[in-house]
């Protein structure tokens, strides 16, 4: 008779947790080692989930500080995180009988963080930010999909975020109240992955729509090394929010290069009148992601055909 009143320990031995005082080694804020216009590399792969009509997996290359921390760990807390997400596309499938007639493809998008995705644990019910991301993603894709080719059909796009971008460095987190900048990177990743998954599902689109992020970053005094903008904002493409102490404004675009069109634009924060530069930066970032996107879609096609 096994003891069912308690949660039994593992069959083999383990070690009890050690709560070490880490005060002697203060945590160091990661520093951006990329050029302002240098993007993080992407890994994108389509067709991973056989049960879905289309699917994609996307991850950002870990930033230099994160890679270094992983190689030689000095703390159990990773200094930053790198986006990892999966996207599944189900459909086009017929609308249920009960649904009203629709001459266009009915697009529904769900964005869900895995409970372990962020440093703060996420619940199983979608919260406001997740619903917000879903709406943004839908806007971005609606402009790209040729919806009237699929009347009376539904398309369901589900994005599961396995590892989210940090909103800010975890050391700053307790006393920071500014916007959640990580959401912007997550949205950009969602757009790129969803576009790949839609292409994998063979749904007609105007173009592959790629997401890109740019941000106006307030320069840190000690690390400013002769930038053009004296003691002020600086445009950074593909920002990792953990690497910056203060982000003034950020912008996400969903961009279709072939038509030179923006389907989704999300600008957050105070850019001080330089919106255009911010948008252009985001478009540049999207253009970079588009190259990977096109390559991944082509690779997916060559595998299946």
């Amino acid at each position: 008779m096994t003891d069912r009143r308690r949660i039994n320990g593992p069959p083999s031995g383990t070690r009890p947790p050690v709560f070490a005082a880490g005060a002697d080694r203060p945590a160091v804020r990661p520093v951006r080692q990329r050029q302002p216009t240098e993007l993080r590399k992407l890994f994108l792969k389509t067709g991973l989930i056989p049960s879905a009509s289309g699917s994609a997996y996307l991850e950002f290359e870990p930033s230099a500080s994160l890679a270094a921390a992983r190689a030689t760990p000095t703390s159990l807390i990773p200094p930053s995180s790198a986006l990892k997400l999966t996207c599944t596309v189900h459909g086009p499938k017929p609308l249920p009988r009960s649904a009203a007639y629709s001459p266009n493809l009915v697009l529904t998008t769900h964005v869900k963080y895995a409970p372990f995705a962020a440093r703060q644990r996420k619940g199983h019910i979608r919260d406001a930010s997740e619903r917000d991301l879903g709406v943004h993603l839908e806007t971005a894709l609606r402009g790209a999909i040729i919806a009237e080719r699929w009347p009376k059909s539904a398309l369901e796009i589900t994005v599961t975020i396995l590892e989210a971008e940090d909103d800010r460095w975890y050391g700053d987190a307790p006393d920071a109240h500014d916007a959640s900048w990580g959401m912007m990177n997550v949205l950009a990743g969602c757009i790129t992955a969803a576009s790949a998954a839609i292409a994998d599902a063979r749904i007609d689109c105007l173009d592959l729509v790629a997401g890109g992020v740019a941000a106006m970053v307030y320069a840190e005094e000690e690390e400013e090394k002769g930038g053009e903008e004296p003691r002020g904002r600086k445009l950074m493409l593909d920002t990792d929010p953990a690497e910056h102490r203060s982000i003034g404004s950020a912008c996400v675009v969903a961009y279709m290069p072939a038509r030179d069109e923006i389907t989704e634009l999300w600008l957050k924060g105070d850019s001080g009148g330089s919106h255009e530069g911010l948008i252009d930066g985001a478009v540049d970032a999207a253009r970079g992601a588009h190259g990977v996107l096109a390559e991944a879609v082509r690779e997916g096609l060559s595998v299946t055909n």
Partner: protein
């Protein structure tokens, strides 16, 4: 008049308009009018130019307008203004590259001019819009607002005059509405003359261009590069083209260099594409460096991704970056301490140790056994609450089987006597018992006297077995009667079965207790034939289907046919062919001519000279040759209750029956099914002698205790509590059909047990030899065929797999067979 009206309402209809002019010949050559017209034209033109916004119109247009408005200058000016504004509105969809998204995708014609937010928003300040640039935006509704147009639909092409009239009026009204609330011209019209718009708010120094111009220029750009197609064109979207105005035209091949260039451009400052020509030159220059950035952006998968994607798909060329190497991070290494040892969860937990120590210190035993003993007490207490007086019988705990083997005993056999009514079954058995001194002479004499008293002297012997008053009065056996006798070798149990067709269920009960059968046939003229039609055949079939292998045919009443040998052989031939067909093996069939009333060839040879031809065995000799029958001693206990009765003061509740399988002994707990009640054996009798144990094959009487009589009925099954028989409401059986079978109501007989039920479906008819299905789901089963059927009953009945059952319907046996599941 009507024509004039016609003209005024269709003033904006260009096609019709020209026709009217030519056809009418209204233009008069009168010089005075010419001069006036010229004056009006000049007025209109000057007003158009001088007005806000300024509009340039050709002379012809003005002339036309004046002619329509009867040289009314103000009306003509308004008309021309409206017309020009409309033209501006119409132009973009004709020429523009910006297509709304429902248009089919144009992959081949990639947009050569890249998007620049700076350019896009150039002329529109984000905040602090100057007052003069603010305007009410009036969106012209797609459909006329209200009212029916009537006539043919517009899509049909041809519009009726009435509909056209109504449409025109409606349009005019809407125009009026649009014009009146906006004294400030619409932005569209404003863009017509950008030079007038002050660029005081625009930080860009370059002269701003109108949307129209930009659209047309981008359109030109597209036209210039039609060959550039697909993804090549897509990649050719150079950043430099946008930054072209500010960046140096020096092109470097690597991404880093390009990134440097991009870094040099200030993000805040809005750069301006200088001219269309420069754009065109920039695009081809970009083409040679398009590949590098795409490849460079590809990352190799992380460890996690490799697991998901699989190793095979990892790009080979991608360099292994440092984060790919799997490190097994040991926490202890990071914190540099080895304070703790791994805890082994196999032993008791520290809590357990403490609790055990505490309880032992207090002198208690561990908690678990204490509660257990308490539980036992509780259940014991519940049992003691029984109202009945508990009888505890001590079992001797014998090993019944070894006891059975130890005892040297005679062969035991039981046989059932069957045959048509009045074949002399009971008389024959009575004779057998009388001649073997199983019944004492005084009793026999008493029966004889009593029988003669009621005028039935010939029934005296039958009364040995027919004990019931009704049986004696009617002269027929009603219920089975058992009796015993012994020869030198064997102890026999006679089961005398009724022959009358009304009592076949009782006969079935008797047959189920028998090892072999004695078929009594009336040899007298006419009676044999009627018997053959009657129960002789049915009984033979029934005993065969009850599993009886051996049958002794006693051809009775041979004295009435003068021991006619031919008659005997005729009967022998008919009966043996029938029995062989019924499934008896010829070696198991024997025929004896005899006379039960006189006793010839029963226990002694016939002394009649006519019977001298028969030199075979007598009945008792034949019975003695029967081989011992094996019974399933090892199997769990099964006994069908034949009778429930009150045995006496000492044994207030007794049951009798024959043990089908297993063994029992005094003190055993037994389970009665279907009631599911338990009883214990107070004492038992084997063959009317007290015994401590009994085994399968023995006819026993059990005196029970600790059970209410209402739980006991004849036909119930006694079994051991360890392996109880199941109560079934439905079972599958393989039957031999005697009558037509179809889904119908039947009685199910098994020994004493008989319950109503129904054949719910016929699964298949089977081949008699192999048992393989011949026809699936037949509608009806013909007599003589073997079929597998499903029988359902209303009440649960204790039945077990190798049980022999008989199905009867309407007083006839319709089928007999073996229960399968």
């Amino acid at each position: 008049m009507s024509r004039h009206r016609m003209k005024t309402v269709s003033y904006d209809d260009d096609d019709d308009y020209d026709d009217y002019e030519e056809d009418d010949g209204y233009a008069s050559p009168d010089p005075e009018e010419q001069a006036r017209l010229e004056q009006c034209i000049q007025d209109v033109l000057s007003q158009l130019r001088g007005g806000e916004p300024s509009v340039s119109a050709s002379r012809e247009e003005v002339t036309e307008a004046l002619w329509h408005y009867y040289n009314d200058v103000t009306k003509s000016v308004n008309y021309i203004r409206g017309k020009k504004a409309k033209e501006v509105q119409k132009q973009p969809p004709k020429k523009g590259t910006v297509s709304s998204y429902p248009l089919p995708p144009s992959w081949s014609s990639a947009c050569a001019v890249p998007f620049s937010a700076a350019e896009f928003f150039r002329d529109s300040p984000w905040l602090n819009v100057p007052e003069h640039r603010k305007a009410d935006i009036i969106v012209e509704p797609l459909h006329p607002r209200l009212g029916l147009l009537g006539g043919a639909p517009e899509a049909g092409g041809k519009v009726s005059k009435l509909a056209a009239l109504a449409a025109a009026r409606k349009k005019k009204e809407s125009e009026k509405v649009a014009a009146s609330p906006s004294p400030v011209p619409t932005p569209k019209a404003e863009e017509q003359k950008p030079e007038e718009v002050g660029d005081n708010n625009n930080p860009a120094s370059a002269p701003s261009r109108s949307l129209l111009e930009r659209l047309s220029s981008s359109h030109n750009g597209r036209q210039l590069k039609p060959a550039e197609g697909g993804l090549g064109g897509l990649r050719a979207l150079g950043k430099g083209s946008r930054m072209g105005g500010a960046t140096a035209p020096t092109k470097k091949s690597s991404l880093e260099k390009e990134a440097e260039i991009r870094a040099q451009t200030k993000p805040g400052s809005v750069t301006q594409p200088a001219k269309g020509e420069e754009k065109e030159t920039a695009v081809p220059q970009q083409q040679d460096e398009q590949q590098a950035p795409v490849v460079n952006m590809m990352a190799s998968p992380s460890t996690f991704a490799t697991i998901i994607v699989g190793d095979a798909t990892r790009p080979v060329a991608a360099a292994q970056s440092s984060h790919l190497k799997v490190q097994s991070v040991d926490v202890m290494d990071i914190y540099g301490q080895d304070l703790t040892e791994a805890f082994d969860f196999a032993g008791p937990s520290p809590d357990d140790l403490v609790l055990n120590a505490q309880s032992s210190a207090k002198g208690f035993k561990s908690k678990q056994p204490a509660s257990k003993s308490k539980k036992v007490d509780l259940t014991g207490g519940m049992n003691n609450l029984s109202v009945e007086e508990k009888v505890s019988i001590k079992s001797k705990n014998l090993d019944v089987l070894s006891e059975y083997k130890k005892v040297e005993r005679k062969k035991a056999a039981s046989f059932v006597v069957i045959g048509h009514v009045d074949a002399g079954k009971s008389t024959l058995m009575g004779r057998l018992l009388a001649d073997l001194q199983a019944v004492d002479a005084r009793t026999l004499e008493k029966y004889r006297r009593e029988a003669e008293k009621i005028g039935k002297g010939s029934f005296a012997l039958a009364w040995v077995l027919d004990q019931g008053s009704e049986e004696r009065a009617r002269g027929v056996t009603i219920d089975i009667a058992t009796n015993k006798f012994e020869t030198d070798k064997t102890a026999f149990t006679i089961v005398d079965a009724p022959g009358h067709r009304d009592f076949v269920p009782n006969m079935i009960a008797g047959a189920s207790q028998a090892d072999f059968a004695v078929l009594v046939i009336d040899a007298s003229t006419g009676n044999f034939e009627s018997g053959l039609k009657g129960q002789t055949k049915e009984h033979a079939l029934l005993v065969r289907s009850m599993g009886v292998q051996k049958i002794v045919v006693a051809v009775n009443k041979m004295d009435t046919v003068e021991w006619d040998r031919e008659r005997f052989e005729e009967i022998e031939q008919q009966i043996s062919s029938f029995l062989t067909a019924a499934g008896f093996q010829p070696k198991n069939i024997s025929f004896i001519p005899l006379s039960g009333f006189h006793g010839d060839n029963v226990t002694r040879r016939s002394e009649a000279p006519q019977a001298a031809w028969y030199q075979g065995r007598t009945l008792i000799e034949e019975l003695d040759t029967s081989e011992p029958f094996s019974h399933a001693l090892e199997k769990p206990l099964r006994m069908t209750i034949a009778d429930v009765f009150r045995g006496g003061v000492q044994s207030p509740l007794s049951i009798s029956g024959r043990i089908d399988a297993g063994s029992l002994q005094v003190g055993d707990q037994i389970l009665i099914m279907p009631s599911g009640e338990k009883a214990s054996i107070r004492s038992l009798e084997v063959d009317s002698a007290p015994a401590d144990w009994a085994v399968a094959g023995q006819n026993i009487v059990l005196n029970l205790a600790n059970i209410d009589p209402i739980h006991l009925r004849s036909g119930d099954v006694v079994c051991s509590p360890a392996s109880p028989i199941q109560n079934l409401t439905s079972f599958t059986t393989k039957v031999l059909a005697f009558e037509h079978l179809m889904p119908m109501l039947v009685d199910i007989h098994r020994g004493r047990l008989h319950v109503p039920g129904r054949i719910s479906r016929v699964v298949a008819t089977l081949d008699k030899g192999s048992g393989a299905p011949v026809k699936k789901r037949p509608k009806i089963v013909a007599p003589g065929a073997v079929a597998r059927i499903v029988v359902e009953m209303d009440q649960a009945v204790p039945l077990e797999a190798p049980a022999r059952i008989v199905l009867r319907a309407g007083g006839n046996t319709v089928a007999a067979g073996l229960l399968e599941s």
